[in-house]
């Protein structure tokens, strides 16, 4: 079977997801401006330990080989290690994303002693200024400390996860060097206008020239022939329209087909970047649990049908780029059957000009913490960006 035939099969859906993300909590010690899940405060409805274990039992029965755990900051949950150990004992490997705040040396040792565990530390700049502008003050040092602790504890090759933006795209080589210095693997992913990213996307997303830069860089560093290839989570396939050579990966939107998200309260979405009612397939708390949602939900069955290329059908690059990312289109107010807002041929940009910003869909969940007013830091006469309070 050719790669194309396999991709056709995958688009028709699998018996269970390959890439399942499970966000354990909306609580987070940070408040990154591009947070895909608008995290901050804990949600009182979050799954209990017993419920979470039930979900893991179900995933084991479905033969889900590994899960991606995220948040919020997953280590905030008191039962974090309990769930981690339980998952691994059930034969479900875990890769978890963290900002590193809670990886002190003791925890690093505990993590290093576990099998089938991958850790991904988020970092969005190779210096504190670039990183902290997006992830908040002190977050660079926090992440570096976690990396140092993992290294000292002999964890082995962890991952450094970078969201590529307008501001850090020139640091790709430095990120690679940093990862190499730890014996770590670099993972770079695409910025999507999801969650709080809907508000920051216009300031943060790479320009068209920078997209070409990313494409060329990934071609040079992403291949499986390099010792530790740079990973992308298959997130840059819209860039394939730039040239003959496709980026490594399946190059398809996996939402509801091979990918899905379980959010902290058990709701199941088509992918981690579409936390919106329109992409909610059901809940693990429904009768029939996760398996029924995955196999039978109307939304997922619909996503597994052949999708229309719409306005992209007249573009010669459609086979290479597939019209890009559904989440990126949705949250920038573009039609789903048309070009990506970052269409490398500029068609998305043209369309964006016609979109009324205020009418864009907003994420259904917002756990952003209300701004604390600290009288000392108030400077009169400056305009502050209002922060949404839910």
């Amino acid at each position: 079977m050719s790669v194309e035939a396999l991709v056709t099969q995958l688009k028709g859906g699998l018996d269970a997801p390959i890439c399942l993300t499970w966000e354990l909590t909306y609580a987070c010690n940070l408040q990154c401006v591009h947070c895909l899940s608008s995290s901050g405060k804990r949600d009182p409805r979050e799954l209990t330990t017993a419920e979470a274990k039930q979900v893991l039992d179900e995933l084991r029965d479905l033969q889900v080989f590994y899960i991606n755990i995220g948040g919020g900051e997953p280590m905030v949950r008191r039962d974090f290690f309990e769930l981690l150990e339980y998952s691994i004992s059930q034969g479900i490997g875990v890769k978890f994303s963290t900002n590193g705040a809670f990886i002190d040396f003791d925890k690093a040792q505990r993590l290093a002693a576990m099998d089938y565990l991958d850790i991904q530390i988020s970092l969005d700049g190779t210096d504190a200024v670039t990183n902290d502008a997006v992830r908040g003050e002190g977050s660079y040092d926090m992440a570096r400390r976690a990396m140092d602790n993992l290294q000292a504890a002999g964890f082995g090759p962890f991952k450094i996860s970078v969201v590529v933006t307008h501001h850090n795209v020139d640091q790709l080589d430095e990120f690679k060097a940093l990862a190499d210095s730890y014996g770590a693997q670099l993972r770079v992913t695409r910025l999507r206008p999801s969650g709080r990213g809907a508000d920051s996307w216009h300031d943060l997303h790479p320009t068209n020239a920078q997209q070409r830069q990313i494409y060329n860089w990934l071609l040079a560093h992403g291949g499986h022939d390099s010792e530790r290839p740079v990973l992308t989570g298959d997130s840059f396939f819209h860039l394939n329209a730039l040239g003959e050579e496709p980026l490594p990966g399946l190059n398809m939107c996996g939402a509801g087909r091979v990918v899905c998200l379980i959010d902290p309260i058990g709701d199941v979405y088509a992918c981690p970047f579409v936390i919106h009612d329109e992409f909610k397939a059901g809940s693990v708390r429904d009768d029939g649990g996760f398996a029924k949602v995955w196999k039978e939900s109307e939304l997922f069955l619909e996503l597994r049908e052949p999708q229309s290329a719409g306005a992209c059908s007249s573009c010669g690059s459609y086979d290479a780029c597939q019209g890009g990312c559904m989440a990126a289109k949705f949250f920038t107010g573009l039609p789903l059957d048309g070009p990506d807002p970052e269409c490398v041929n500029g068609f998305g940009e043209q369309l964006l000009e016609g979109v009324q910003l205020a009418s864009n869909p907003k994420p259904s969940m917002d756990h952003t913490k209300p701004v604390r007013v600290t009288p000392v830091s108030v400077t009169l006469g400056t305009t502050r960006k209002p922060v949404a309070v839910s």
Binding site: M1, A5, L6, Q9, L10, G12, L14, D15, A16, I18, Q63, F65, Y66, G91, G93, Y116, D118
Partner: protein, 85 residues
């Protein structure tokens, strides 16, 4: 390759799918697609026969397809989905 005595790697789990199966290697954490149901049958039966060829015969795979199976299993060996016993 046809003479090789193979087995599924003990750290590999197979998950049946409409197109064949997904193979996951818990050691190197790689996910590999077995792109045909016949491949899956053969892979699961490898350990019961003295060679790949004997397994193909037992699974009633037409000899005309053996070369492509030999190639496929070679690449499965590289990705450590199967290994020499």
């Amino acid at each position: 390759m046809l003479d090789a005595a193979l087995e599924l790697h003990p750290q590999v789990a197979l998950r049946p799918e409409p197109f064949g199966a997904l193979a996951y290697h818990y050691g190197n954490r790689r996910l590999v697609f077995l792109k045909h149901v016949d491949m899956v049958r053969v892979a699961q039966d490898l350990a019961n026969h003295p060679s790949l060829q004997a397994t193909l015969e037992a699974c009633q795979i037409a000899p005309a397809r053996w070369p492509s199976f030999a190639k496929a299993f070679e690449s499965l060996q590289t990705s450590e989905v199967v290994r020499v016993r």
